[in-house]
Amino acid sequence: MSTYPEHFLYTKEHEWVNAAGDIATVGITHHAQHELGDIVYVDLPKIGTHVEQGKTLGSVESVKAVSDIYSPLTGEVTEINETLASAPEKLNEDPHGEAWLVKIRMSAADEIKKLLSAADYQTYVGAES
């Protein structure tokens, strides 16, 4: 199944990264939204926030549970997806597209090597579930 875009990179905490130049678009995966179920709140950092790889970036809350989002990369938040504040359900509908979370200007390009390929992530979630 090709649920996970080939040109994205992934974390074991179920975030995805789509890097272009020094800007990385970040979201949570289909697996993450499916596990959470109906999403009701998305909390994102302010533009300009410095975030670090593996540290909390924000949180996503569903009817059932609240879950932290971990930053897949170190850098500065340059943009956030404002539409999620009023339409958090988009995260269930299009987690790899319209419902991206933040854009980060990467400050440690090497970190990207620690991320998983689509195939590796698919294997990982396949094994986990």
């Binding site: 499916h34 596990e35 179920g37 109906d38 009701v40 709140y41 949180s59 809350e61 009817v63 059932k64 549970a65 609240v66 269930n92």
Partner: protein
Amino acid sequence: MADTELKRTPLNAVHRASGAKMVDFGGWDMPVQYSSLVDEHHTVRRAVGLFDVSHMGEIEITGPGAQKLTEYITTNHVAKLKLGQAHYSGLLYEHGGFVDDILVHKVADDFYFICVNASNQEKDYEYIEAVRRDKGFDAHVEFASDKYAQIAVQGPRALETLSKITPTELNGIKYYWFEEGQVAGVPARIARTGYTGEDGFELYLEPTKAPHVWNALLEAGAEFGIKPCGLGARNTLRLEAKMALYGHEIHASLNPLDADLGWIVKFDKGDFIGRDALLKQRESGLSRKLVGFEMTGRGIGRDGYEVSVDGAAAGWVTSGSPGPTVGKNIGLCYLPIAEAQPGRQFQVTVRGQPVDAIVVPTPFYKRAK
């Protein structure tokens, strides 16, 4: 607990084949949702939903002393039950705390059928059996969970759905009454009970026949939009209806008066376990009370979150969630009795931050009759 140790209901393979998301629920491998929790919730409020609740336990008390034993171990008035009637009740310790909350069905003068919580069933059985033995009641207590699967069909179209596959005249079964009948050709105890705040039925039947009855119900309800529903929707439905969940609103350290369940305690019926402790508490007054709340700030007060009044720690949330039908973030919490009035503002500590909430009357949702 490893997957291999999880207990399975007779419908486990049906859930797995349908792609339901399964979770470890108190040692049981249970469906938490099939499609979407919110969609399943609305389906039960607006049409009809189907739940596998076969993990629930059953205990049968029979014999000449069955009524006396049942009366002694529970808080509600067993002698007032008519044949074919059921009631909600408490099974308490001497100190008044809950062993469990239960449904007592009077099947015959010498036969009481008790539905208990899944995770408490062995404990309940041992407790009741020990009381029977120690006090010398002339009754037999049987751990009967293996004899029954339980399927709940709930919602405004539940009656029409079930009617299509049973000869039983369902309109003749009043709320909290039951009849022995057949569903899809299978002998079943058909009870007009539920845990959703909607009209509906709970069916007790032989485990091996559960998949057949389940599929027959799905087929019968197709024209009404029936959907299988998971424990996630069951939780939001019961929360909106303010029905207690063992381990949350009630447990061994909480009694029925704390939990706003005084209506199931019949002090006048004679002696029962926990009566003295509850009488004392009634005389000395309650220190805390279970109340409903709505979040007025942005956030969801979830199970276990602390609550504070005027900056001072005051209690804890027992259950909290968005209420899909009421359209608000709701919950139940314990507050000091002096603060437990509708309109009282307080704060729930949501991930370290105090968020405003207000005490509201309950239930949050009541169906139109």
